[in-house]
């Protein structure tokens, strides 16, 4: 190879690569709107995006896995946390996390209420972008090696291929085993907020000893819901979280639970039955 041929090689390979890259870019533009649900980019979502930029969230967090690694990824956060929770959290993170325990805390961002709600709309739009099913397994903010959060079974509902290591459940399995699967695959996943280990409270209280606690609550005079037995109590806790509240500033505000509503619609009646059968084992 002489000098001239080497130059031709450099020019030709660059030229071809640029051309292919530009063609694919054009084709991507054709698809962006569908993949990102562009019709849902409302003025609120756009404003929420500006808020995201204005407060430099990207230099602590990642979104779509891009940003900084000091704080959790937020791509699917609205699938793990309800709106009420996120609003309260954004107002004052210190109410929810203890810097001495985790050695890290998100500083209070002093957002206006409008900024907070638009930001949540933006994050919700992000969570619905078709991004090849990433992350392959939900990324949780807290949780630890405990029954319920440790197992390799968490999988986003609806994603067709189960990641490696997962044990899929079938209709022949015990209803409680199927319920445990629902516990991890419901959207938002229950195990994003609840552990099943004694004392391990996360964004929601631990569900260890749920049955015993439910019996005690039903027997005491403080119960505010409509249930008459333990199973009814659990069902109510899932489909109408605010009917009776577990006390604590980090769990609810103004009588509204931070636990998301809507499981009654997003889960099928069988899934709900299985889930409750599973929860009723947590004595």
């Amino acid at each position: 190879m002489n000098n001239r041929q080497a130059r031709m090689f450099a020019i030709a390979s660059t030229g071809i690569s640029v051309l292919v890259f530009l063609i694919l870019t054009l084709d991507s533009h054709r698809q962006f709107d569908t993949l990102t649900n562009a019709e849902n980019i409302t003025p609120e979502v756009t404003h929420g995006k500006d808020v995201w930029h204005k407060y430099n969230c990207i230099n602590c967090h990642t979104l779509f896995g891009e940003g900084a690694y000091y704080a959790p990824d937020l791509t699917k956060i609205t699938q793990h946390r309800g709106e009420a929770y996120l609003q309260a959290y954004m107002r004052d993170p210190a109410k929810f996390y203890d810097e001495n325990k985790h050695r890290r805390l998100m500083p209070k961002q002093n957002l206006s209420e409008k900024e907070i709600s638009d930001l949540i709309q933006f994050l919700d739009w992000v969570s619905k972008v078709d991004n090849q099913g990433w992350p392959p397994r939900p990324i949780l903010v807290t949780g630890s090696f405990i029954p319920g959060a440790d197992s390799v079974a968490a999988v986003a509902a609806g994603s067709a291929d189960n990641p490696a290591g997962i044990r899929p459940v079938t209709d022949d399995d015990d209803p409680r085993a199927q319920g445990e699967h629902v516990f991890r695959s419901a959207i938002p996943a229950c195990n994003a907020c609840h552990s099943t280990a004694p004392g391990a409270n996360m964004a929601g209280p631990t569900l260890a000893g749920l049955v015993t606690r439910a019996e005690a609550v039903l027997a005491s005079g403080d119960y505010t819901g409509k249930a008459t037995d333990v199973e009814g109590y659990i069902r109510e806790s899932v489909i109408a979280p605010s009917a009776h509240l577990v006390p604590g500033d980090m769990y609810s505000a103004n009588g509204t639970s931070f636990m998301p509503v809507g499981y009654e619609d997003s889960l099928t009646p069988e899934q709900l039955d299985h889930l409750i059968a599973y929860l009723a084992t947590l004595k």
Binding site: L35, L63, F64, G65, L105
Partner: protein, 455 residues
């Protein structure tokens, strides 16, 4: 120094040194926040220290590129610079831009877009500086009538860097689209056109430090250019996997970015054979250490550690973890920090008075401490990152709990970063230890390399 106007390079290098030192202060601050708790949570939170850390990096490396270019072009074209005045005006504007941007970041005044945080007025000044720079260099070459291949590759890198900055000036309504174009700037810079800049400096240094034949060196430089672009351009897709773009980018990104190390292997062989075949022709052995070190460390940080997580089925698990920080540090340092330090080390004996041509023992300590420190930092990020991937991504442990479990790696990070910082402090001390030559003296030929450069 053969041409009086080359002395502008000194001031560019001096600014780069100061900013490099500052970058590390903010880096160490950020690392200590990983350990936590953070007493400065409301004064200087992590997002502020991190944005200053990364921006200082970009600014000092670019300052170094400009200084090194102002040094190299007169040598290659055998002429004085078109205008030293313009070069100083450019430096002045550039410093004002940098300093005000950093002060702004302290108050969170920025665009909040990773690595492109500079506010619009600052971006416009950046463009103006680039234009002054390119004009000045272009006119110098034009007037001299001598345009070498090495210069050609350097100019290609510099002009394309300016062109690729334009997508960063635009506003995008759709977050996914804005990510798409952000990488046109960031990826195509570091894995495309900056490689041209690095390759040109490498060729320049090798031709001068070893006795390698220019004809041969420049032929292989073309081959490297071809390899970089074949793989690097479509390799952009390794940043497109999970951000909401069509699926075909996955195999494309995997395939082409896996080819990227080929160019880096070629560069390392290039440096090695030049020295092996032609031997040393220049007393500045320290500059040679930096030059070869840069090629080798790039192969390690960019080639090997980039390859480690570039395949989609791996990246799916490592994306957005400390694994990225591992690779980013080693790659950026090896390819761009080290090549600038190589150019500085090469030019310094003639830019300052009484400096030993072969480098001092302080200079060697600076080299080895930096190499050791950066290698240790890379290992710390790697072990932390592997822990994070397993615990958080695969086992499903919560983010905050995982970070607690990998604390020991953050301790290791701070320890090795301190070693690195000592190395950099020595380099900076060594830089400023000898006064610059303000007045050009009619000295006899200082550099053997200059006289022997063949056309």
């Amino acid at each position: 120094m053969q041409y009086r106007s080359q002395s502008v390079a000194y001031w560019y290098f001096a600014v780069a040194m100061v900013l490099f030192g500052l970058q590390l202060v903010f880096g160490l601050l950020s690392a200590s926040k990983y350990l936590g708790p953070d007493p400065l949570l409301y004064i200087l939170p992590f997002d502020v220290t991190k944005v200053i850390h990364t921006n200082l990096l970009i600014v000092w490396v670019l300052t170094g590129f400009m200084g090194a270019t102002y040094w190299m072009i007169p040598d290659e074209s055998r002429t004085e610079l078109h205008s030293t005045r313009l070069a100083y005006i450019q430096l002045f504007l550039w410093v004002i831009m940098g300093v005000t941007a950093i002060i702004g970041y302290l108050f969170r005044y920025g665009t909040g877009n990773k690595l492109l945080e500079q506010p619009l007025p600052h971006k416009i000044i950046i463009v103006i500086c680039m234009l002054i720079f390119l004009y000045n260099i272009g006119m110098t070459i034009k007037k001299s009538g001598r345009f070498t291949t090495t210069e050609g590759v350097l100019m290609l890198g510099l002009v394309s860097s300016a062109v690729l900055f334009f997508p960063a000036l635009l506003h995008y309504e759709n977050y996914t689209v804005s990510i798409f174009y952000r990488w046109w700037t960031i990826h195509l810079w570091v894995e495309g056109v900056w490689m041209m800049i690095m390759g040109a400096f490498l060729a320049y240094l090798l031709i001068r430090l070893s006795g390698a034949d220019r004809e041969v060196m420049e032929k292989w430089l073309y081959v490297i250019v071809g390899l970089v672009f074949i793989a690097g351009i479509l390799g952009t897709a390794h940043h497109y996997y999970w951000v909401g773009v069509p699926t075909y980018w996955l195999p494309i990104g995997g395939f082409f970015s896996a080819l990227e190390p080929a160019a880096l292997v070629a560069m390392a062989i290039y440096a090695y054979t030049a020295i092996r075949r032609s031997g040393l022709a220049h007393p500045n052995k320290l500059a040679l250490h930096w030059t070869v070190g840069s090629a080798v460390f790039t192969l390690f940080g960019a080639g090997l550690l980039g390859l480690a997580h570039t395949w989609p089925s791996v990246n799916k698990w490592t994306h957005g973890t400390l694994i990225t920080a591992m690779h980013g540090h080693a790659a950026f340092y090896g390819a761009y920090a080290m090549i600038v330090l190589a150019m500085i080390t090469y030019a310094l004996p003639s830019l300052t008075r009484h400096r030993p041509e072969g480098g001092s023992s302080i200079g060697y300590w600076a080299f080895w401490l930096q190499i050791t420190g950066m290698f240790g930092m890379t290992l710390s990020f790697a072990t932390a990152g592997i822990g994070q991937v397993y615990l958080e991504r695969i086992m499903g442990m919560g983010y905050l709990d995982t970070q607690l479990k990998i604390q020991v790696h953050f301790l290791m990070l701070i320890a090795t970063a301190s070693i690195f910082t000592v190395g950099v402090a020595l380099f900076i001390y060594d830089f400023f230890r000898f006064a610059p030559r303000f007045i050009f003296e009619d000295e006899p030929q200082l550099e053997a390399g200059v006289t022997r450069s063949t056309p």
